[in-house]
């Protein structure tokens, strides 16, 4: 009934086993070299530092109403999959194609498990080729966001975005937005009122990008950088709950 090619994104944490990926990205993306403290901070910030993987895949859907018979069978419930339980709750018999697209797009990381589960419950199905997901292909690490959690005087915590970047060929696909949103969501969940970062004064693309998300220029620092021109930078800050920020 439907077919398409999508880019999906999955976020993965940074650990000592894959920190080299982050180093490779930074070498490619930024004119600045980062020292060990940067990586230690990034590792320490936990959920606030993420690598982003791009996954391209094609999907084909046929006879979607039949799919439902799989999901609704009694045996579906015991399978413990992140997010997939949503399917059982929300699915109704005749959802439009776009719905399935949404479902699948929003859970790319469970795609493979999804396929596995399909085959696991094959004997409950009327036909095998109802939903075919062609591939979960090679996922490539294409960007990252790295933050540091800082304690202000008085104990309040703020988040400093050390780096946010996406490899050139993969820009314009909404990947940066996903990364930034991830951190903004985390901040609002954890009641962290202040997020800030530095941007080189001539980097208009970046400044506009952040302004879209409610960041404002709060300060200009002269001669912030030593080896690049211009050496000045702006401090961009976003206060999520203004009342707390005033304290």
């Amino acid at each position: 009934m439907g077919a398409g090619r999508e880019v999906a994104i999955s976020l993965d944490g940074v650990r000592d086993k894959n920190v080299m990926q982050l180093k490779k990205l930074n070498t490619a993306l930024f004119p600045v070299r980062y020292n060990d403290k940067y990586y230690a901070d990034a590792l320490a910030s936990g959920e606030f530092t993420k690598l982003v993987y791009a996954i391209y895949w094609e999907f084909y859907c046929w006879s979607l109403s039949l799919c439902f018979s799989v999901f609704s069978c009694d045996h579906w419930a015991p399978i413990e999959l992140d997010g997939l339980h949503l399917l059982t709750e929300t699915v109704e018999i005749s959802k439009p194609v776009t719905f399935w697209r949404e479902v699948i797009l929003s859970f790319p990381s469970v795609l493979s498990m999804f396929v596995m589960s399909l085959s696991r419950w094959l004997h409950h199905m009327i036909s095998i080729t109802m939903l075919h997901i062609d591939a979960y292909y090679n996922d490539i690490c294409v960007g990252s966001i790295a933050c540091r959690l800082e304690k202000k005087e008085g104990g309040a915590i703020r988040v400093y975005i050390m780096t946010l970047g996406v490899l050139a060929p993969y820009r314009g696909l909404g990947i940066g937005t996903r990364l930034l949103n991830h951190v903004l969501d985390l901040c609002s969940k954890q009641n962290i009122p202040e997020i800030y970062l530095h941007v080189q004064t001539n980097n208009e693309d970046a400044i506009n990008f952040y302004k879209k998300f409610g960041f404002e220029i709060t300060e200009t620092i002269k001669n912030y950088y030593t080896n690049i021109d211009p050496p000045d930078c702006f401090v961009l800050t976003k206060f999520t709950t203004p009342s707390q920020a005033k304290k």
Binding site: K24, Y137, I140, P169, I221
Partner: protein
Amino acid sequence: MGASLPPKEANLFKLIVKSYETKQYKKGLKAAEAILKKFPDHGETLSMKGLTLNCMDRKSEAYELVRLGLKNDVKSHVCWHVYGLLYRSDREYREAIKCYRNALRIDPDNIEILRDLSLLQAQMRDLTGFVETRQQLLTLKPNHRMNWIGFAVANHLCSKYFVAKAVEILEAYEGTLEDDYPPDNERCEHGEMLLYKISLLEECGFLERALEELHKKEPKIVDKLVSKEQEVSLLVKLGRLEEGANHYKALLAMNPDNYRSILCLLCFFMLEDSLLQYYESLQKCFGLYSENGKYSSDEIDRLDALYKSLAEQFTWSSAVKRIPLDFLQGDKFCAAAANYIKPLLTKGVPSLFSDLSPLYDQPGKADILEQLILELEHSISGDGRYPDRTEKEPPSTLLWILFFLAQHYDRRGQYDIALSKIDEAIQHTPTVIDLYSVKSRILKHAGDLVAAASLADEARCMDLADRYINSESVKRMLQADQVALAEKIAVLFTKDGDQHNNLHDMQCMWYELASGESYFRQGDLGRALKKFLAVEKHYADITEDQFDFHSYCLRKMTLRAYVDMLRFQDRLHSHAYFHKAAAGAIRCYLKLYDSPLNSPAEVEDNTSKATQKKKMKKQRKAERAKKEAEEKNEGSSASGTSKSGKRHIKPVDPDPYGEKLLKTDDPLSEATKYLKLLQKNSSDSLETHLLSFEVNMRKQKILLAFQAVKQLLRLDADNPDSHCCLIKFFHKVSSMPAPVSDAEKLVWSVLEAERPSISQLHEKTLSEANKIFLGNHEDSLMHRAAVAEMLYTLDPTKKLEAVKIIEDSSNKIVPTNGALGSVMEWKLKDCIAVHKLLDNVLIDTDAALRWKVRCAEYFPYSIYFEGSRSSAVNNSLNNLDTETPLNGGANGPDIIQSGNAFTSNGKLEAFKNLKI
């Protein structure tokens, strides 16, 4: 058992046997001692005590006791049986068989002994004996399933003339079964037995009967897939093609990616049209499949049509799309390749190149592929679309195209372009690990092993949790002779950090081979030998491991797999790894023979004090390590024994550097041991006979050496090495003194009779033969080198002439239609061999230097020739170069510090100050 004892002791004796069987050795020992208190000379008890001690790791006592027991009671089958068991536990099967036979002489109907004997006979492949023993067992206990099956299998194994008998036995066995057999819990076993019987029927040519049997018993066979495959194979052999084809289609529907099914269907297709005899045609089809290009264009069209129809039927099968690439030609190939490749590039399949690389052996296809991929690259880097497509490709498609191209040019030997492509890919997406692995491989092929190792390590650092890239990096390091570093890296993935033992326990043979070869290159023969012999040991262990299956498989009825396993074990030593290890060991022994270790007296004279000191230090260190290990050993054994006799002591290697191995008195006879295995198991390999020639020439075994020469000529008379051996042999023979003893005279007469049969030497002198060989192979570097070497061997005054022959060789350009660059004919490996020849054999340093300069130009990345772009030369430059290293730039050998590539360069200080 224990019959001669009074009732109380007889019971105790039963207790010993029982505790032995249940592994409660301490209890058994106590009981034995209780009996021995009263009857100190009771033979059977002594034997049993010995056997129990054997299981508690007190070997020497065990043998003593068992022998004493036997002496005291030589008429007891128990004593003989125990003696056999003792030998068996030490893997001395021949001795064990003898003991069992003695035991059976005393008690011919003892089922346990018969069973044990039959296992040993199967292990030793004493097949006639095996049949006899099995028959006896069956006569004694015909109500036992295993005995029927065992007798049948024994007949099958024994000889092809007994296969029919095996079938009869199985049928007789079936006759003893009730109608409602098998019960539910034995359906699998019974099904396997039926399939085995059918395969036997097929083996002795009763095809109709086999098919009939298959149809009749089908409901009782559990493995439906095998039964279907068997049915089809029978149908084909019976010539009932149409039915067969239909069955194949059914099989394909079950798994459309099964190459075997598809190929068989292909055979049917060919059959229907050509109406050849079924079997020949089957062969022909498979033959055609492997050696391509033999199809007529008509056949190709028909095959193409077949695959197209299959492709429609099985949309998702990639095999259906891939196989036609093997036989299609020209434009059709191009279209099919594009069709196959494009989605895979979009998808990002890193293995795509290895999937297609067999096509590179077919003339012309590489050019077509190159053209095709370059077109794609052009189109994608232009507007991000494949030609004639409206849909935009994801950004990664370009990456995978570059990745493919890099491997393509690497395969064609155009390393410059390959490197530029892979660098482009790394620049595009520096986070894909495969890119670094491939760059490492390209550099390895180009001759820069150090840079290759450093790149492999860079790849490894990108995912520290991946064992594969860890292993790859270890291998590259070993190739670059960085053994210590390689060990450190390999240890990251072993369980307990005690890597030597652990890698050995895991039978990690690639590691042992690579490290053995590295030690060999570095001249550390002891450790090299150690590694090679370790691999040899693994193969002995594998042979040993089959022992348990003789009883297990019969019990579990996995008969087809069992017979397969035995056949596999019979040709185990022809495996490539074994061949490598044995050849490596023989080379070590040859080198050891040619330059034996200095005796202590000479050491003082010859070696400088420094090296002596070093040696002492090494020795001391080894001793210390040994001591420590021993201490540890004691500690663990003390704690280990306290626990129910079950201990885990790591055996300590008493000879970690292989020094003992080097002290062998007769390296050539050691070498002969392994040579025999090679001759027996890989007699079709040139290397086997080259080694045999070298060993036997040194041993002055003229006839054996001559045999090796004849084998070489049989295998490949045009090979430069064969030529060298031939000339060397007759040169040596002619220089030997006239025969004196009868034996020598006999040898001479054999040679004289044989010489005319060698066409190369027929009525020619050796130097004439040498010249003719040159004339036949004027364009080949390696042949010229061989001729030069022989010229020098025959007449050392002709050294200059020999050098000239080598230097006059010209490196031609291989004609290609490739769009970029050109490929030279000479291989790096050959050029290095020639350099060594000039340097070591002809001993002409000037010529060697000239050769080196010349080759450095051909191989700019080669470390050996110190090419201008190799890391050997660039190291000093790199160090001066303060520019920030790029991703994937090989920074010479300092790979371990590759983390330092990201040190701060001053900017970060500013950051920090501002933050706080």
